[in-house]
């Protein structure tokens, strides 16, 4: 006799959010960089910004700061990225 057992994992069909499609290219785009407020994140994001501009042709970079690394980004901070084509939420530590 076999055992019929149930899957314990999250069912994606219950998701309340969906992912957007990937940008075909970053050239000429505006990219947001979210600083999570941890030590050394500025060094990491300075380097990421340099790479985005020099190797991917990103035209504008918007740098914003999250006041608390362990909590969601506040609404007013998130609104600052409204003009961005993409945002990178970085984990400096």
């Amino acid at each position: 006799m076999t055992l019929r057992v149930l899957d314990p994992t999250f069912d994606g069909g219950q998701a309340t959010q969906a992912t957007v499609s990937r940008l075909p290219s970053l050239a000429g785009r505006t990219v947001g960089l979210l600083d999570n407020g941890k030590l050394n994140v500025d060094i990491l994001l300075d380097h990421v910004e340099t790479l985005l501009r020099s190797q991917h042709g990103v035209s504008t970079v918007v740098r914003l700061h999250k006041p608390d690394a362990s909590r969601p980004v506040p609404e007013d901070v998130a609104k600052g990225f409204a003009a961005c084509d993409a945002v990178i939420s970085a984990v400096g530590d």
């Binding site: 076999t2 055992l3 019929r4 057992v5 149930l6 899957d7 314990p8 994992t9 999250f10 069912d11 219950q14 998701a15 309340t16 959010q17 608390d68 690394a69 362990s70 909590r71 969601p72 530590d93």
Partner: protein, 346 residues
């Protein structure tokens, strides 16, 4: 029987079930009980909820935790249906914004959900509050705590190295659930102190680091007894995290009796620790951290372990003999706060 929606697998036997579930990363490393439709339905029935009922939502990734998934993971953990009201209450508690579920479970700091159960349900389901209270013994303690871990792994994706970035973690991440010894305590139960009506069952949950055991069997002076706990908190502030928040004290019967005989109430313990568990920035030099002594507001900057006496969760638990106690430090100060939630039974 209501319709369960989760995908199912037909497997030869319990060994095959464990092989598949371990291989897919669906366990904590220990064997699981196969979550058959019958067992899952029995656990679901004990909640009185529909399978699709959302018990809580993890707010950062907006991920709902449904009654069906809670029941499946509870069965895997070994829970009896009678434990389900406690499991459901814990999920509700940790999904409150002040608990900061995402931060406290993803962090390198590696905390676990420390659960304290109060009220009549403790005795109905056989929760242990005495001998070896922080460790093995009762099925209810072990399986309720384990169910929460499996839900985090399977529903929220808290897999070590993936969403769970703990550097070390601690053994409480397998299970970290106790009852308070209300029948042998001089104090009002913890949940009552935190606003729950007498006679109701409730859970109090905090994102806790590993317990630090203390011992003082050489005094009857309540101040000296409590000072040993405060000293361990000060030590934790220096060696681990300076930030103020909920600390739990586990006070065993031997020490409770001495404290009560001397006329101290729970509030006296909270107020003493509030005054005593303080350090100054220069103290960091004594634990190998002199590099940060002159940062912030300088070497004289003062820090308190508690934002107020109410931050201290004083819990009556442990075996009858021995002057052993424990502090359970918060994961990261008040970034995650203890939540007390009523247990609803059918």
């Amino acid at each position: 029987m209501t319709q369960l929606r989760s995908p199912s697998y037909d497997l030869a036997d319990i060994v095959a079930v464990n092989d598949l579930y371990h291989r897919r990363g669906w366990t904590d490393g220990l064997p699981i009980l196969p979550p058959t439709e019958e067992l899952v339905q029995a656990c679901l029935d004990a909640t009185g909820l529909a399978p699709s009922a959302v018990i809580g939502v993890e707010s950062v990734r907006q991920r709902p935790i449904t009654a069906e998934k809670v029941a499946i993971n509870a069965v895997m953990a070994g829970c009896l249906p009678a434990y389900m009201p406690v499991v459901v209450a814990v999920i509700k508690a940790i999904c409150q914004p002040e608990f900061n579920l995402h931060g406290s479970t993803a962090s390198t700091g590696g905390s676990a959900q420390f659960i304290v159960v109060n009220g009549p349900i403790r005795q109905r389901i056989g929760l242990n509050a005495t001998h070896n209270v922080l460790a093995n013994h009762s099925r209810a303690n072990a399986c309720i705590g384990r169910a929460i871990r499996l839900i985090l792994i399977n529903v929220l994706g808290c897999l070590p190295g993936q969403l769970d970035r703990s550097t070390l973690g601690h053994p409480g991440k397998f299970s970290f659930c106790i009852a308070e010894d209300e029948e042998d305590s001089p104090w009002t139960p913890l949940a009552q102190q935190r606003g729950i009506s007498a006679g109701m069952s409730a859970v109090t949950v905090m994102a806790g680091e590993s317990p630090h055991q203390t011992m003082n069997e050489w005094t009857r002076d309540p101040e000296e007894i409590v000072e040993t706990f405060a000293a361990e908190i000060r030590h934790n502030m220096l060696t681990y995290s300076i930030w103020a928040g909920n600390y739990a004290l586990i006070v065993p019967k031997q020490l409770r009796d001495l404290i009560a005989t001397a006329g101290w109430q729970r509030r006296d313990i909270q107020e003493y620790v509030y005054r005593s568990a303080r350090v100054v920035r220069r103290d960091w030099a004594t634990v190998g951290k002199k590099q940060i002594v002159n940062l912030g507001k300088g070497a004289d900057q003062r820090f308190s372990a508690l934002r107020s006496p109410d931050d201290l969760l004083v819990i009556a638990a442990g075996g009858p003999a021995g002057g052993f106690g424990a502090i359970i430090p918060p994961w990261l100060g008040s970034r995650s706060q203890a939540v007390t939630q009523i247990i609803e039974t059918l």
